[in-house]
Structure formats: structure tokens, C-alpha cells
Amino acid sequence: MIELLYFAWVRERIGLPREKLETNAATVAELVAELCAREERYAAAFADLTSLRVALDQELADFDAPLAGVREVAFFPPMTGG
């Protein structure tokens, strides 16, 4: 069971800030494909991966990173702090 977190317009498009998921996805990309197949709002949120960032257990990662052992996956747009 992993926890998914969504921020900024990713959160708005998907319509919720977090959810728990049972998945067999081996990588972030596989997880994204699984979510997109589930419902249109996920497909809309993940339509352009170049405009998205992902963090695994609160560390920035790539979309081809493995999910083994990961408890928390967060998706969000490029950050705009400062």
C-alpha cells in the first residue's frame, strides 16, 4: 500500500490531495499509466509528464525510478518558491 499525494494544479485536476493505493507498478511511469487508465481526471492531470515532477518519500526522483520500498509518492508541477 502506497500513499499518493497531489499538489497545486495536479491536486485540482485529480480532485483530491491524497489517497492510498494498492499497486503492483514497478516504476513511477507504470504507476502513472495505471492511474491514467483508471479515470479521465488522472489522464488529464498526467497528460504532459514534462510539466510534472515526482518525489519518492519526499526526495525528487525520475519517472523511471523503481517503486520498491517506497511509501509516499507525490506528483506536482515545477516548484515556484522564493
Binding site: F7, A55, Q58, E59, G81, G82
Partner: protein, 147 residues
């Protein structure tokens, strides 16, 4: 090293003075303060800053550790707000202290460049005509290449 992520307002001058008291042997103190700018049309009502609790503190701490490892710093402070800000409200500040000015300036710019693109904050402008997520700037991502 002091990292504060908070919704409360802060007093730039009071924070700068408090920081200066904690650094001994420093000949140079640099501060940077980011202020909420109005929209181009002058109709900004609220700048809403969303963040990722937990990761924010980790990311800011990592960035500060990198700065301390890279330059000879006598101290390093990062404050970043989240929540609803009004035009002219301070959003964030960094402060660095070092024996010499070059280190203090370089470390402050490094902190700002990384904080802009690597700390999980997102800004949304709320104006009379609607809401808009502030887009990341290519220039901010490019700024990282100099380090």
C-alpha cells in the same frame, strides 16, 4: 543553521538582527527578502502559497547543508511562509554570514536559486478576474547551472 516554514508573518529586520547575534567572527552578513508583488494589472487580492509539509523542511535543510559545506559560513537562516499572502507581504528570507563578503553573497544566491526550483512551494495568484498558478520560469531552472 535555522530553517523556518511557517504561515505566520515575520519581521525582516527583527529576524536579521536576531540572526546577526548568533554569528560570531562574521565580517559579512547578507540577507535576501522576497516580497509579494502585485499582479501586472494591479488587482492581486491574495497570493496563495501551497507547500508539501515534511518535504519542504527536508528540501530546505538539504539546500542549507549544501551551502554550508560549500562556503565558509558562520551561519545560515531560511524562512519561508505558506498560506494566504497580500501584496507587499514578505514571503521568505534567507540570511548568510561569513568572514568575507564573497562567501556570504555566493551562499545567499545559491540558497535562493535552489529554493526557487527545488523546494516544494507553489504560488497561485487570486485576482478579481480569477485564479492562476504561477508558472515556473526557465530562467530559474537555468540559474542552477552556474553552481
Amino acid at each position: 543553521m535555522r530553517i523556518l516554514v511557517q504561515s505566520e508573518a515575520f519581521d525582516m529586520g527583527a529576524e536579521a538582527n536576531a540572526f546577526a547575534k548568533t554569528v560570531s567572527g562574521a565580517g559579512a552578513i547578507v540577507t535576501f527578502t522576497g516580497i509579494t508583488r502585485d499582479s501586472a494589472k494591479g488587482d492581486l487580492e491574495v497570493m496563495e502559497i501551497e507547500h508539501y509539509p515534511g518535504m519542504t523542511e527536508r528540501a530546505l535543510t538539504d539546500i542549507a547543508i549544501q551551502a554550508v559545506a560549500r562556503w565558509s559560513l558562520a551561519g545560515c537562516l531560511v524562512i519561508h511562509r505558506y498560506g494566504r499572502l497580500r501584496p507587499h507581504d514578505p514571503i521568505m528570507m534567507v540570511a548568510t554570514a561569513a568572514r568575507h563578503r564573497a562567501d556570504a553573497f555566493a551562499a545567499a544566491e545559491y540558497l535562493m536559486d535552489y529554493l526557487k526550483s527545488r523546494a516544494p512551494f507553489w504560488k497561485k495568484e487570486i485576482t478579481a478576474s480569477g485564479t492562476d498558478w504561477v508558472a515556473a520560469q526557465d530562467a530559474d531552472e537555468d540559474a542552477l547551472k552556474r553552481w
